[in-house]
Subunit: 225 residues, 2 copies
């Protein structure tokens, strides 16, 4: 039996749903590989089209431009991650154990999930670390936000914020702490691998050290009297 896991995507993210055609799936799979390989700046629809044996215009039928494609794959990632947080914490009673689990899911690279045939999650995680913030660091954030393009990110953030409040209903900054956890998980990972002197785990190159740092930070903040 074949199981396909589908993440429901906002219609405004694409011109034509890439999940519904072979070419569309190829676009997603190969854009993830290309962006990871050469970086978002040098990524072009022409290179992508050559890679998948199609044409530039073919790609433009699915996505308005490469920035929209970046928002699409980051939104996909956040949706997928929220799904993982939900299924991995649903049977846990203790909110602190829940939060620990969520931090671990956020800060650790995972293997490719075979149920999503056209997305390699381990590569996608690398893209989120290096390129993820570029999805919203633009002059048109507000319009994109009105189109709800960042909803998956905000939903994940809200979810983790709720777990924080479960741990300590009096903690004053659940949402800021939540977005901080997400961003720090990625930045510290990038620094560890590329600018190690900005971290305390330069040589180990070990993601579990990042998890420890974030846990220490988070739990000392919310456990404070």
């Amino acid at each position: 039996m074949e199981i396909e896991l589908q993440i429901k995507m906002n219609e405004k993210l694409f011109l034509k749903n890439p999940e519904q055609t072979e070419l569309g799936k190829k676009i997603i799979r190969h854009s993830i590989q290309l962006i990871n390989k050469s970086g978002f700046e040098s990524f072009t629809f022409k290179k992508l089209a050559e890679e998948i044996g199609s044409t530039e215009a073919g790609v433009y039928r699915y996505f308005e431009n490469k920035h929209r494609l970046l928002i699409y794959i980051t939104a996909w990632y956040w949706g997928w991650l929220e799904y993982r947080v939900v299924i991995n914490t649903s049977n846990i009673q203790d909110p602190k154990v829940k939060l620990r689990k969520a931090i671990q899911l956020l800060a650790t690279t995972i293997e490719d999930d075979i149920r999503t045939s056209y997305v390699d999650e381990s590569i996608l995680h690398q893209i989120i670390i290096a390129e993820g913030t570029k999805a919203y660091l633009t002059k048109h954030v507000s319009e994109d936000n009105k189109d709800r393009l960042f909803k998956p990110y905000k939903d994940l953030c809200a979810k983790i914020g709720d777990i924080i409040l479960e741990c300590n209903p009096k903690y004053k900054y659940p949402k800021s702490l939540s977005s901080t956890i997400i961003e720090v998980a990625h930045f510290q990972n990038f620094f560890m691998k590329n600018l190690p002197s900005l971290t305390d785990f330069g040589n180990s190159k070990d993601e579990s050290a990042i998890v420890s740092f974030i846990e220490d930070l988070v739990f000392s903040a919310i456990n404070k009297d």
Copy 2:
């Protein structure tokens, strides 16, 4: 008497030192304005040249490309901020008061310093918030790092890390906490203004709320037994 404050810049950041000519200073001043106005992506040397009544080729004599110019102005900012941290904490004995001061300097927009005639620091602060991370989020970070282009950022980070260690010599993550403070200060500011639901200070739009959040986070982490 006129006082000019000069930040010493790494020679690899430019082809020709922009501080030493009128055109060079114009390039810095107007690129800061243009990047702030339209964002780094839509910023081009052609538009800049038109703005300052020069030519594209003229700008290329100073900077290899627009990304190097971005690194230049971010490096300038970090150098200037470290200078401010040093002079504003040098006469403080209590390391916790020092750290509080440093956090405040990092997270608060400052007025333009008239001693730096060709740089408007308040605009520059906005650029660092929205575009700063793009200076190092590239596929060529490591080479750029070898050229020491990020030294001012790393120096500032090390400085704050030292203050953290003064507060608590046993704290395990001084460098990671330091880089976290810097990054959190900026993206919480960005979120507050652009994606307020990711923060707990959406309506207030008040930087002092960010300072409070960071102080709470930092001091509960380093004061923990």
